[in-house]
Symmetry: C2
Subunit: 147 residues, 2 copies
């Protein structure tokens, strides 16, 4: 036992870091009455609106069921409206959401950025970004190994 590869160490680091920074982000966004997941969804809508639930689900890598439930919550809070439009539902932000995002977006951006700016110089950040981009893109076309 206890036979770690470098890859498995990276994997664990990534999991622990994203888990932790996600919690911190939730804490941070409390001042806007938002969770990280909600902020993420609202951001995507703000960039791509109007769009359908399927399109949105793909952008935030969540299943259709997941996006359906999330949108019910966001609708109840008055952040979005959905209109049955042909056979799909079209999603748009409300004025309330636009106003909150305008405030929250720059702050959340600065918050995210601080995780890296504080410890890595620009070159190191570029390296990290390109390495992770390669890893991510590769994983997207990866197949499950046979049993």
């Amino acid at each position: 036992m206890r036979n770690n590869t470098i890859g498995s160490l990276i994997w664990l680091r990534l999991m622990r870091f994203t888990n932790q920074s996600n919690q911190m982000s939730n804490d941070f966004l409390k001042r806007f009455d938002l969770t990280t997941a909600q902020f993420d969804v609202l951001m995507q809508i703000s960039v791509y609106q109007p769009l359908t639930q399927m399109e949105l689900a793909e952008k935030v890598t969540v299943t259709q069921g997941g996006i359906s439930r999330m949108l019910v919550r966001l609708e109840n809070e008055g952040y979005i409206v959905r209109k049955q439009d042909w056979k799909t539902k079209t999603i748009r932000l409300t004025a309330k959401a636009e106003a909150i995002l305008e405030q929250a977006m720059p702050e959340q951006l600065a918050f995210q950025t601080s995780f890296f700016d504080d410890v890595l110089n620009h070159e190191e950040q570029t390296t990290l970004y390109t390495l992770m981009t390669r890893v991510h893109k590769h994983s997207q076309k990866k197949e499950l190994p046979p049993e």
Copy 2:
């Protein structure tokens, strides 16, 4: 709007990648009737057993409530036993869990490793690991910015 920093791009990449690879790992571990979270917890127990719930919660960065619920599920499945021992509960793996882990561990390790081995050479992996280690360690002593 749309004013991305490099840091925010890295953040998003990390979130999407861990989210996706976590789902793939869940898929992969189905052959052992385990989820990624369960595998993670069982691994930590196997390394540090016997240990208390508090200690375990800290190792997997989950709250005490979270670990309590997870251990109830693992106990119902017969993977662990808890003994009230002084004022704490001491956790140990059952023979069933030990047997499954012995099989699953090398396969899961290889699975995790393949995300990186396929696209990064050894030097790049070392770089990625050191960069992420710095970022992670920094985040652990980070404080929430004032309101």
